[in-house]
Symmetry: C2
């Protein structure tokens, strides 16, 4: 059995750090969390990256283990499929699944984080020390240096420090400094795209101005816009646009150019965004990048988790779900391993191929969302998959495996899903778009017999 | 014409920084070099990574432009091919080329660096400020902070700062800090191998104990040793060994294990290394890693060059040659571009695909050197290539293009060389190892007609 008396220090009380702290407190560990930002419950600062989150089964499974799934889902809005807006404003609905219970959930990052922090403090008041920045780590001495609210340096001794401090992790910086000793492999890859958040307010009587229970997409080939519903009847729209080129951030320099651009490409949306010019020119431009690294642990002293270990781009809606699944798996490993070193090692070995897989799938899906959803072959394939799922409920598409089947790892979902996709895209290359029951049966048999 | 009055600051007076400074001084620019280490001419410190260097045509071309190739080649030792040592100590010679003048040159890093520094100071005494560490850069303000010999901070203003400060570049750290603004892509990948330098002293009457004009290789599949000649009749041997596994650094814990290991795998070498135990356990273990990044420049203010921009592993003998070629290309761009911004931009665009190519080729060649040189198919292929080169002097193998043809870029050499290799390996898969003139002609025609 592992040593229950060990103090576990957590750097970062974002979504993953908070859920991790909560589970460890629930298991009776002594836990202390350091957070560089002020308490979001007492201030108006943003909860970080503000793209809405799409909570799905992997994340829900982890929240369930902490007993919070019900409270959290009450604050979310179901999204049952993608609603595609074409250039003329025509709508096409692509359901995520034809099985009951298989939808995704729009939730605000802040709401979720606040629920988690409140749950932590119910068990241990003041478990989270805010306005405290991690400055330096030394795993050999087990001493870390913080800078507190008053800009004073503070030292603390740690048994195990877990870095859940996000994509720009200060903990990971320690691994970089120790590259030669740890043989630390690291990559950061930026998309040539930035994003801008825009707001669609409620209509009269607080009505949603677009279909409420859908994820809206305006796919435009080399760029796209999406919109997710919020409980206050607003939508958060996000425009993804290249930095450079003929349609890009660099050419949209003034109101005229912006309005012309929106009138050309997002005609049905422009009237819904009253503060377009102001938001576009005043909101910060977000960046999209993928971080991969290994190892994630320095013996049994420091461990990276969540975005600190594997930041991904948001196009599979899995960043948070993957981070929550980290906590879920870590939690299971606590029961299965004899000591902290093997917990950290097993965690890295199990999670690394899976986080690499979802990183790659998210990059693929960016192309799919902005480009392929409007493609006829892809649309026929989506239709065929829906028919397959109806006739054979045991059939799961790649998207459905990733989103609704936590029992299938990301890696397995990627391998199996890519083979399925290849087969189905070949079938849909012909213009046929109706299939008889026996044809579907034949296709299904081929899918089942794919060699994996 | 570019502004000749601009001061160019260079961080790092290693091989690339020194050659760059020299060329810029020869062109009449105002140049200042900052070097973190002490002056190697006045102290016994090592010149950094001490693996011997194999100077070949790309490097020589750049040294020629600075008028130094003659002096430097006088200090080098010709290596005309690989001399393979098998388990029983049998030797097989693989010439690098059958054309005259196509050999590589073993030279000491220190000798080379000293010649370059002396040439700089002949033009501008005190151009190099030693013991001065770059601490901080701000490209917007054009101000950098140094720490001098007395640990005092010094500021300087720069027009253009060129970072030639090696694989662990402090300049590149600035690009990392500015990742979001520059969309800075970065990767570092460690081999699972470390290396250890060992010394083969001269024999009686200062005779070389192994063939002088060859690069010696003991290929052993998952590990290998090499040895390069030095002018003092010593050889520097380098053992490349995995960190972990059945034959690895982790299992060689004491003298007995080490001697048994050498007796088993390097029987003909063990008697040549009198201080084996002492050197193996006291010399530091070197690490092998590849660094790729982009962009290499921040507008016309900061530019990375050499290992700072593209560190590669040493198995194609091209690290220094590639860095010197950087200087050669940069030098040409000074005549071809109207301003510093386009010089920096063109430099990155031209060199990035080429440095990526040599990085990948070096990783491939590590496998080739430790494993394939002992493989019968590979040996037949090498023999076939030698016959082709003899009968058709215009035929260049991948290795020969990379090593002896600066007029062919690394990228083109990689693309063309890989296609040639594929064709020849297929031919040599059969056990045939003699070819008639007309058969050679037929093979040569196939090589010429490869679609590229």
């Amino acid at each position: 059995m592992i040593d229950q008396n060990r103090t576990i220090q957590i750097a970062g009380s974002g979504l993953v750090g908070s859920l991790l702290a909560l589970r460890l407190l629930q298991r009776g560990f002594n836990v202390k969390v350091y957070e560089s930002r002020p308490d979001m419950r007492k201030s108006s600062i943003s909860a970080g990256r503000s793209i809405n989150l799409a909570l799905s089964h992997r994340g829900i499974q982890a929240l369930k283990s902490a007993g919070l799934e019900k409270e959290i889902l009450e604050n979310a809005i179901k999204m049952e499929g993608r609603l595609i807006h074409d250039l003329e404003g025509n709508l096409t609905f692509q359901a995520y699944s034809s099985r009951p219970g298989e939808f995704i959930n729009s939730i605000s990052r802040r709401t979720l984080n606040v629920i988690l922090m409140d749950a932590i403090e119910k068990i241990k008041p003041n478990a989270i020390q805010f306005n405290t920045q991690l400055k330096k780590i030394n795993s050999q001495s087990g001493i870390a240096v913080l800078e507190n609210e008053l800009k004073q340096s503070e030292e603390f001794t740690f048994d195990l420090l877990i870095g859940t401090d996000g994509a720009a992790s200060a903990c990971r910086q320690y691994f970089m400094e120790q590259s030669a000793r740890l043989h630390f492999n690291y990559s950061q890859v930026f998309q040539n795209y930035g994003y801008k958040e825009l707001t669609i307010p409620p209509g009269p009587n607080n009505k949603f101005l677009l279909e409420k229970n859908a994820l809206h997409i305006w796919p435009r080939g080399h760029f796209m816009m999406i919109a997710l519903p919020n409980p206050d009847a607003t939508f958060t729209a996000t425009l993804f646009l290249p930095y450079h080129g003929s349609e890009s951030f660099e050419v949209l320099k003034n109101e005229d150019q912006l309005v012309t651009f929106f009138n050309t490409h997002f005609k049905d949306a422009i009237s819904l965004i009253p503060h377009l010019t102001q938001e576009f020119f005043q909101n910060p431009t977000g960046h999209l990048y993928t971080v991969k690294c290994s190892p994630w642990h320095d013996a049994d002293k420091v461990l990276l988790m969540g975005d600190a270990a594997h930041a991904i781009i948001p196009f599979y809606g899995q960043g948070m779900n993957c981070g929550f699944e980290d906590v879920f798996i870590f939690d299971q490993l606590l029961d299965q391993n004899p000591d902290w070193n093997s917990i950290c090692k097993s965690f890295s070995e199990i999670r690394k191929p899976n986080s690499d897989a979802i990183a790659d799938l998210a990059e693929d899906n960016f192309i799919e969302m902005r480009d392929k959803v409007a493609d006829p072959v892809f649309q026929r394939k989506r239709k065929l998959e829906m028919q397959l799922e109806k006739q054979f409920p045991e059939y799961y598409s790649k998207y459905a495996m990733v989103t609704f089947r936590p029992d299938i790892s990301y890696y397995d979902a990627m391998i199996k899903g890519r083979k399925q996709d290849e087969l189905l895209m070949n079938i849909c290359a012909s213009e046929k778009s109706e299939w008889t029951e026996s044809e579907l049966k034949e296709i299904y048999n081929k899918l089942v017999n794919l060699s994996l």
